[in-house]
Symmetry: C2
Subunit: 292 residues, 2 copies
């Protein structure tokens, strides 16, 4: 839509989020490499997948990556009882030396929909403080929560920090609003409930917005020095005293890197429900499968 | 220390944080006005006061303001039991039209030290989930918590989301780490426990770091259009359905703007302890006072 040396605004033409966000992040990295920082907003887009993926694209260029997106309304505002905001994630990736990179990729709600889906698949109750129903009462049944969300019956996930003010749920809510301003208002995309209108023949298409950015590390300090300091920073945290019963202080992204390595070695654990559903799909489409 | 068109690194010379952060933010705004975005990191600094103040400096220039800082270690990592990170706040300010500006200014811990000090002044117990002691047990006595923190006896505030993983305390912890990377590692300042070493004659001086930034709104879309959309965005949130017993959905900064207006009109409410302490100080220094 328009472009300056450091900033660009892209229209995704109501297409898939992934390819346009990938190209936009390449653009932000190019701008960062040339000018020190680069930011690209995207309007008129759809779900773009994993926010951390785009942030991590910056790592190979010795840049810090940054990605925000708004999304289907699933989260209630503090004191509200209807899903008004997306889980609006924040992703930041910073390179390290010998240690693994720092990769923060977090929904600004207490939990993501994914956690409810997992509870649903394993038939586990969900704790009070994750989600409320249309009357503001806590959901404990994940099946009911997911069904109600799908059918837009009201209620939603609680922001990070939980309900009301006691544990500062307004902070998670505030972060979700910030992400909505950058991804929606600033990008000229939809915002709050207008980013992703309810499905239906008459409904206007989605107008999700994204905000992608990169900073070139060596405009701040030499890359080697930065990476070496990241390593020392990480070691300091790893060596911090732990509460009883814990054996490791993690850094964002570390659990996922470890799980990826484990799964590559041992395979991916699947719940009985997922295996059953995969068998069904394979039978339906007459595909051979081997899940043992 | 060094400067490129979009980025600068400033050394505060171990002086007060406020004046250098004020000048650095003016620099970031100048860069944003000229190039679309500007970022200034500060190393070798001290406490800089209110993060939101610097972010709000951008508003008058039709820019979005951004401020991060690390701080005295007061917060435990997820699974940790010693204060390793500061309350590392995130501040974002975005201009609106007829509505009040959006001003997010939040500690990434569940609560700030200020809330414990208020509980201390009003003699109120603190809820389980705000802070843990050196054994990982919850503090409920604010006097004990504040005394222990002052004397570096271990323990600390819990990150936003609380203890462990159930309510995603690792997200608040992750945000605090992000702020520490940008303010500390990237700026070449101290980080984690090294930002603010314990007081003492032999101790090295503080080396707090800040990260200040600004984006020029009209590089993304026309300012009037942005502000008008901010107004509609705000109205949409104000009109979202509320849970029973609540009468308003707030936006970050709104409560503070309202309180400031009230206090300018009605005066500032003080606790009996604060009044008593002010009388003591006035007597000590033979200053006349009138607190009625």
């Amino acid at each position: 839509v328009n472009e300056t040396p450091v900033i660009a605004v892209v229209d995704a033409g109501a297409g898939l989020g992934q390819p346009v966000a990938h190209r936009a992040m390449q653009m932000a990295i190019r701008k960062a490499t040339e000018y020190g920082a680069g930011f690209v907003t995207i309007r008129n887009s759809n779900h773009f997948g994993i926010a951390g993926y785009y942030a991590m694209m910056a790592l190979a260029h010795d840049c810090i990556g940054f990605a925000l997106t708004n999304a289907t309304p699933k989260v209630v505002p503090t004191f509200g009882k209807n899903a008004t905001l997306g889980t609006n994630p924040i992703a930041v990736a910073a390179p390290a030396g010998k240690e693994r990179a720092f990769v923060l990729d977090m929904a600004t709600s207490g939990v993501s929909i994914g956690k409810l889906e997992i509870a649903d698949q394993w038939d586990q109750p969900i704790p009070v403080g994750w989600a409320i129903d249309k009357d503001g009462k806590p959901y404990t049944d994940p099946h009911r929560a997911i069904e109600d969300f799908k059918r837009n019956l009201g209620g939603g996930l609680l922001p990070l920090g939980g309900e009301g003010e006691l544990f500062s749920g307004y902070k998670g809510y505030g972060l979700a609003l910030w992400v909505d301003i950058f991804s929606g208002v600033l990008a000229g995309a939809g915002f709050a409930t207008s980013a992703f209108p309810p499905f239906g023949d008459q409904a206007p298409h989605a107008n999700v917005g994204h905000f992608l950015g990169a900073w070139r590390v060596d405009c701040f300090r030499p890359v080697d020095e930065f990476k070496e300091t990241m390593d020392r920073w990480r070691q300091l945290l790893r060596n911090a005293p732990m509460v009883e019963g814990q054996d490791r202080i993690y850094i964002p992204g570390e659990k996922e890197f470890i799980a990826a390595e484990q799964n590559l070695r041992d395979g991916i654990p699947l719940s009985a429900k997922v295996v059953h559903r995969l068998r069904q799909i394979a039978n339906e489409w007459r595909i051979e499968y081997d899940l043992e």
